[in-house]
């Protein structure tokens, strides 16, 4: 098993290397796309199979069994030892199984989406690297190795977002993603540093930390918890570090699917769940996380309701759904949070791939108001996207219902009523903006729609079907007793959840509320956008505010970017050149000046010299008189 585990991590890295080198040395473009496709897709498939084998193996044993694998000792300084080691426990095993599975589907899809692109080989090299980095992050046995994966994911997202790097805008978006993530990473590494000092010589694997967590005082743990969460804010696009996510749509659509469904953004949620033993000790930080989560969820949902770019709507919806996940993990419902990560992966991948199919069919049109009545032209895409929209809106029996329901119930039962109410409002908005998008793109009759449709290849559509099946049925894995399930998911990943007993009647009541608000959202969307789309909000000022995303980008630009730039220029032009170097040069000039004065003393004129002599002698005499006190 441990060999398999090592293979899971290393195979994608290896194939990324091979693909990258082949691409780089193939300067005359002789290598066929087939080569890249076969290698680039075969490895994810293989890794998926291996992951499933590992999950099945874990399932067949008791819940405490884990698979471990040590590659080699990475760092060994003084008493500080870090192994490049991996652990597959139920939590990470679940993560890798759906990451690899959905990742593979996206790879297959991408092979069709990117075909005949100049950088096809490069793309697949990055894609495999992305998968590998995410697996490294998830399987790491200690936080340092996790951080390596954490940063590599940031790197690959930078490479992929800026994939079409002839456009400056794309590169700017890529830089933004990298830098904002860096801010988060900075928090993460500070948190690790504090934790490391607090741990002393007790080792630094997750297991060691879990064992010694009681020895660390609460104040330190609070700091650690907050700083680690700053890392999660960056990766998982939460307020205030979410700004990179909408811009990240600059990358090709499969990249968005991969970032939003299988990799990257889920890393933050996973990290909190991985540190569940730590966050259980500091419920006040957990509450803070939940508040950030629910604010992000609502904030993103409001913005999503007024976007016109299909990919941006989906981007904000991801941020919103991630907010739910943070509500869950913040309030101690770790398995519910991970379960939502799991179901979300299916329908979000499906939505992005569907959107990609639409974009391809319409020759790279992304504005939903230039689409419309695509139902007939793209029936398969329509049906699968419909399913995904139902799932994300939380309509039973689709996957999103069960996971979202579990989160909202937990918020309600832990007596965080404000969070619950905001969560429910978000659920309403989610149904509204998702169906708004669906109706405008597929149903509404648009007058300006005369675009030719391109036929879609099978590789573009078949993955949609697989994902649609997942989006329909994945929820049953985590359905609780009230809905006739047996909490399979929760009992398998067995995290340190805080549990509340909840009666079936309350359960049904809360579930009913969720479904009701969702249906309300659907109805509203139907009313406004079913036939001829028009925005419902009358007040123009509020509308511009929302359409411009509350001017947060502009604010950040003014606050950070411009200040940094002017401060840098000030340092460069004034402090460095004038002040510091000026001082040094002045010392030299002073030296020269004094020297020039002394030079003029030695001018070879005898009368001058005799004056020096005379004044010297008189000075000395005066001094002597003074010293000897001759009066």
């Amino acid at each position: 098993m441990s060999t398999l585990l090592l293979l899971v991590v290393f195979l994608p890295f290896l194939s990324a290397l091979v693909l990258g080198l082949t691409y780089l040395f193939d300067t005359h473009k002789r290598v066929n796309e087939k080569f890249y496709t076969i290698l680039g897709v075969a490895v994810p498939i293989l890794v998926t199979i291996l992951s499933f084998v590992i999950v099945l193996d874990l399932m067949s044993h008791s819940s405490t069994t884990v698979v471990t694998a040590v590659a080699f000792n990475w760092l060994s300084i003084d008493s500080f030892h870090i192994d490049l080691a991996f652990v597959a426990d139920p939590l990470s095993a679940v993560m890798i199984s759906f990451i690899t599975f959905i990742g593979t589907l996206i790879h297959i899809y991408a092979a069709a989406y990117m075909s005949s692109d100049q950088g096809f080989g490069k793309f697949f090299s990055y894609f495999n690297l992305f998968l590998g980095s995410m697996l490294l992050l998830v399987l790491a046995s200690n936080p340092i190795i996790m951080f390596i994966g954490w940063e590599l994911v940031g790197l690959v997202s930078y490479l992929l977002i800026g994939f079409y790097n002839k456009e400056y805008e794309n590169v700017t978006a890529a830089n933004k993603a990298f830098i904002v993530n860096r801010v988060g990473d900075f928090g993460f590494i500070i948190g690790l540093g504090i934790l490391f000092v607090a741990m002393g010589d007790n080792g630094f694997t997750f297991a060691d930390i879990k064992e010694n967590i009681y020895a660390i005082d609460n104040h330190t743990l609070t700091l650690v918890g907050i700083f680690l969460f700053i890392g999660a804010m960056g990766k998982s696009a939460q307020i205030p570090l979410y700004v990179w996510l909408p811009d990240a749509m600059a990358g090709p659509t499969p990249v968005s699917a991969l970032i939003h469904a299988a990799t990257m953004v889920t890393a933050g949620v996973y990290m909190v769940a991985r540190f569940s033993f730590l966050y259980n000790e500091i419920p006040q930080v957990g509450e803070f996380i939940a508040i950030i989560g629910v604010s992000s969820a609502l904030f993103a949902a409001i913005i999503a309701s007024y976007q016109s770019d299909i990919k941006k709507i989906l981007a904000y919806s991801t941020m919103s759904q991630l907010g739910y996940m943070f509500v869950a993990v913040g309030l101690g419902a770790y398995s519910a949070g991970i379960f939502h990560v799991f179901t979300h992966a299916f329908f979000k991948a499906l939505l992005f791939m569907g959107a990609g199919a639409v974009i391809i069919a319409l020759h790279h049109e992304q504005n939903i108001f230039k689409m419309g009545s695509l139902k007939k032209a793209l029936p398969l895409v329509y049906i699968t996207m419909f399913i995904a929209t139902l799932a994300i809106s939380g309509i039973p029996p689709f996957a999103g219902f069960f996971s979202k329901d579990a989160i909202l119930n937990h918020a309600f039962m832990s007596e965080h009523y404000t969070i619950w109410v905001l969560g429910v409002i978000t659920a309403f908005l989610t149904a509204f903006y998702m169906f708004r998008m669906l109706f405008i793109v597929f149903v509404a009759d648009m007058k300006n729609n005369h675009i030719e449709h391109k036929a879609l290849s099978k590789a573009l559509t078949y993955p949609l079907i697989v994902l649609a099946i997942g989006a329909t049925f994945a929820g049953f894995l985590g359905a609780n007793e009230a809905y006739g399930g047996s909490d399979l998911f929760k009992s398998f990943i067995s995290l340190n959840d805080i549990n509340y007993s909840i009666s079936h009647s309350t359960e049904y009541m809360l579930g009913f509320v969720n479904v009701l608000v969702s249906l309300l959202g659907v109805t509203l969307a139907y009313k406004y956008f079913r036939t001829s789309p028009q925005e419902p909000l009358p007040n123009k000022r509020v509308r511009t505010l929302i359409i411009n995303k509350f001017y947060v980008d502009e604010l950040y630009d003014r606050l950070f970017v411009q200040n940094l730039r002017s401060l840098s220029n000030f340092f460069n032009k004034t402090v460095d050149e004038k002040l510091i170097d000026g001082f040094i040069n002045n010392v030299v000039h002073l030296n020269l000046y004094v020297a020039s004065k002394f030079t003029s003393l030695q001018n070879g004129k005898i009368q001058h010299y005799s004056i020096y002599l005379l004044s010297g002698v008189s000075m000395m005499s005066l001094l002597l008189i003074y010293i000897l006190e001759v009066r």
Partner: protein, 517 residues
């Protein structure tokens, strides 16, 4: 041969350089490559023969020079100096091998070989006078390289470089003389042997004065803020090879000397000055990173980023624990490889277009994809991405200083962010977007000669990032013994508590000490 390998490493290039005067101008390049290559092989032999389990000095050589004053020709290396010597040999080798066609190339190669002698000499010397002699001698070839092959303001830059560093070294020399005098007072014998000095326990107030004297010499060399202003001129005017050697090796003399002299000789003063120096280091890290962001010339960006990273090395050194110092020494290697490579990369474009302004570039990724890839890897290493060589060092430095102060480390850590900002901004300007300059459209990608230098560097960056142990292990061993020595020697209670006690027996050197006693 092994017992004299250090002497051979020092004087072989110098002798070869003397012989080089009679070599024909057309074959001097081959001759230079052969000599530097042999020197590099010798350095590898040294590594092969080095026993990583011994923490103390190895390959020691000793010969009395001025017995009356205890000045002797004393050489030896430990895990701290070993890799810098290998790095020096490596960079001289690939530096000569990738030299473009310049005028007077014969003189340049001979100068480089002389420079190599002084570099190896500094890192192998265990006698303060020998150290000082090589330290000062290293200025001369560099002065000549900048002054003869530099850009427009080369004379100004080279004179500034020389005077500034020379002024600092003189203060250091006075410190050394006083140190020897105190040793004489305590023992009745003169000695300039560093290993002998290690045994001397000085009262705190004397330590403070001597520390400051040494500090000036080292800090200007590093160069630490606010003594850094000679460096941008030197880099700006120096030819590629000069910048490469300067950034990769010469600057390391300063940080190396901190570890070799300041810490073990003056443990109490090191503790006393820990926070003032840390503050300087942090200012240096953040300030120069921001100055780098304001540059328009790609070489200046690299130069300031190089200074910024040196700040992390200083910070790690003054963490005064094993993590910090080992990280700092490792980062010296890492910084050498990465900033050396970046200067070489800047040189690649300069050779083609004779400009270093970023506004003259743009879209190069589409014309020179290999160049862009290698530059990208080096940029990511410079930014400190995990699994590249820099991350290991930076991470350990920060981790080390964490144990002294959270807030200072946090401030220094902001360089993680600013570093990414200026590097990505520069990379964007140089490589992305459309090709706007007509002259750039037909530029050839990196050629075989350039790849010969760059590919090994890429491989080192990734190899030591993924698996740092072969280098980190010996470093760790030697650093542990220095930290233990500091702990044992410290006189104040405060210093004893700050410097960790590793409960190890300190072995300074295996053989020589007994003879001297």
């Amino acid at each position: 041969m092994l017992e004299h390998i250090l002497s051979i490493l020092i004087f072989f290039p110098a002798l070869a350089a003397l012989l080089g005067f009679v070599v024909n101008k057309d074959s001097i390049r081959v001759y230079g490559i052969a000599v530097a290559g042999m020197e590099f092989v010798l350095a590898l032999v040294l590594w092969g023969a080095y026993d990583p389990s011994i923490a103390g000095m190895q390959f020691m050589e000793r010969m009395d020079l001025i017995p009356a004053f205890g000045i002797s020709y004393l050489l030896g290396i430990d895990g701290i100096s070993l890799f810098i010597i290998i790095l020096a040999a490596f960079f001289t080798f690939i530096g000569i091998a990738t030299l473009p066609n310049l005028k007077n190339i014969k003189n340049l190669i001979i100068t480089l070989l002389f420079l190599q002698m002084t570099m190896v000499g500094v890192f192998a010397a265990l006698d303060a006078m020998i150290f000082y002699v090589f330290w000062e001698l290293s200025l001369v070839p560099m002065l000549y390289i900048i002054g003869a092959w530099g850009g427009e303001k080369r004379i100004y830059a080279s004179v500034k470089f020389f005077l500034y560093t020379f002024a600092g070294s003189l203060v250091m020399l006075i410190g050394m003389l006083f140190m020897a005098f105190f040793y004489f007072q305590a023992t009745g014998v003169w000695s300039f042997s560093i290993l002998e000095w290690y045994r001397l326990v000085l009262p705190e107030n004397i330590q403070l004065w001597l520390f400051v004297a040494f500090f000036f010499g080292f800090a200007i060399k590093v160069p630490m803020f606010p003594f850094h202003t000679w460096l941008p001129y030197a880099h700006g005017q120096a030819p590629t090879i000069g910048s490469v050697i300067l950034a990769a090796i010469l600057l390391k003399m300063g940080t190396y000397a901190f570890v070799r002299f300041s810490l073990p000789l003056f443990p109490d003063a090191s503790v006393y000055f820990m926070f003032p120096i840390a503050i300087l280091a942090i200012i240096m890290v953040v300030y120069t990173a921001m100055v780098a962001y304001a540059q328009k010339d790609i070489k200046q960006v690299v130069a300031y980023s190089s200074v910024s990273h040196m700040g992390i090395i200083v910070l790690g050194t003054f963490a005064l624990n094993v993590e910090g110092i080992s990280g700092a020494v490792f980062l010296m290697i890492a910084h050498g490889v990465v900033s050396g490579a970046l200067f070489m990369l800047v040189g690649v474009f300069y050779d083609r277009r004779h400009t270093k302004l970023m506004s003259d570039m743009g879209g190069l990724a589409h014309i020179m994809p290999h160049y862009a890839t290698i530059f990208g890897i080096m940029m990511m290493a410079s930014v400190g991405l995990p699994l590249t060589i820099n991350f290991v060092g930076e991470f350990l430095c920060l981790l080390g200083f964490y144990q002294q102060s959270h807030i200072f480390t946090l401030l220094a850590g902001t360089a993680i962010i600013v570093g990414a900002i200026y590097m990505l901004a520069a990379f964007k300007k140089v490589f992305f977007g459309n090709v706007v300059h007509e002259e750039n459209k037909n530029l050839p990608d990196v050629n075989k000669k350039e790849l010969f230098g760059l590919i090994p560097l890429v491989m080192i960056v990734v190899w030591l990032g993924v698996y740092p142990k072969p280098v980190l292990g010996p470093i760790n061993n030697s650093v542990e013994s220095i930290v233990q020595l500091m702990h044992d020697k410290a006189v104040t209670q405060e210093a004893k508590s700050v410097i960790p006690d590793l409960t190890k027996k300190v072995v300074i050197s295996e053989t020589i000490i007994e003879e001297v006693r």
